[in-house]
Symmetry: C2
DNA sequence: ATCGGGACTGTACGCATGTACAGTATTCTG
DNA sequence: CAGAATACTGTACATGCGTACAGTCCCGAT
């Protein structure tokens, strides 16, 4: 257990590389982020990155593992496990958004982890009664993940929309989403009908 | 006005290039799509692409203009202008998702167009009464665009989740979204409170 | 003290990309 | 039916990418 405060300069070069990779992958995506850029932002040479991780793909796997470990810690933490998804997205939102948007096997694995978190949230909410259960709980979990990640996927346009401040964009977009989560959007069942769902459901 | 049915083979090479670019940009994103790939799928040489459009960026602008024109036609069309956003996304959903996700000035311009569509939808829904208005209509419009684009942004993981069929993924994810739009998700006001919104609102 | 291994770097190679250029075929125009 | 403009192609070039390699520095174990 670490007892002294640490700063970026005190970190191992290896740790600085991972942190830099997480940031550059989050900012530009996996393909667009370059090994040279990652190395430069970590203050090391490009060769050291390959020395520690071998390939760019392996570096990404290390980043993914770091995120997965963070999720597992949040899941296993005592106290309030209510908004694990929110905490995870608050820390790794941009990174997860980029990786899930790129697709591929690694992306699918991360999505599966987030699905587990969402399933737990739904189970908890259904048991406690504060969450309205859906006909298809698995699809509801996928929708929950999608809705959580969506603001980060569109952070670029949303930031411009909000005047250049990404934090302000996330906060402003959160308000109508909270209203949506609470009341819905439509006043009748036309959307359910359009989705091919029967309308004789119980309120 | 064209009166005879047209097939892909009958199209001008220029039109085939634009169609190919729209498809490759949608499938792989702007950066990852290559001029050689676009040319090959259009059945022409790479040099012809540069001959017609000059640069890759100019080709993208042509694609964007095509989409913008499509949106304008849908907006100006008579009859039911109720779900213009849905029709636009049904045709150019993957393309718009990739372009909006990449960010940049062109992305912001497309987002602004979609915002206008969403504003019109909200105005119509508020007037007709089927849509529950939000405290911040502009943010509601942005949220509407975001929620519409989100499934396409995550089409990769969602497709794997649904067993490899992207159409099935979109359909299955639409069900809980329709429920969300109709009833909301929470049974109390805790999410509104968490978003910093006062709870003394009228239902 | 030394010596062996890991941290670390500079350089270079092969490859894919966007683009420029010269040249040929085709189509329109007078 | 010439001639000019346009459609179209093959090739080549500069650039940036991921990665491999040889070599230097430094620190801990014997």
């Amino acid at each position: 257990m670490r007892t002294v405060p640490i700063s970026a300069g005190d970190l191992t070069a290896r740790a600085r590389i991972v942190a830099s990779a997480l940031e550059r992958f989050a900012a530009h995506g996996y393909e667009a982020a370059t090994m040279r850029d990652i190395a430069a932002h970590a203050g090391v040479s490009t060769a050291l990155v390959t020395h520690h991780f071998g390939t760019k793909q392996a570096l990404r796997e290390e980043c993914d593992a770091r995120v997965v470990r963070f999720i597992a810690e949040k899941q296993d933490a005592p106290g309030t496990p209510s908004d694990v998804l929110g905490e995870v997205l608050g820390t790794f939102g941009p990174y997860l958004a980029r990786m899930l948007g790129d697709g591929g096997a690694a992306s699918d694995a991360l999505f599966e982890r987030l699905l587990e978190v969402a399933r737990a949230t739904i189970a908890d909410g259904s048991a406690s009664g504060w969450l309205r259960p859906a006909r298809d709980p698995e699809a509801q979990a996928a929708a929950l993940v999608m809705l959580g990640v969506a603001p980060f996927l569109m952070l670029g346009p949303l930031t411009t929309w909000a005047g250049g401040d990404s934090e302000a964009a996330l906060q402003r977009i959160a308000a109508p989403l909270a209203e949506l989560y609470t009341h819905g959007l439509a006043t009748d069942d036309r959307l359910l009908a359009a989705a091919g769902l029967a309308t004789e459901e119980a309120r």
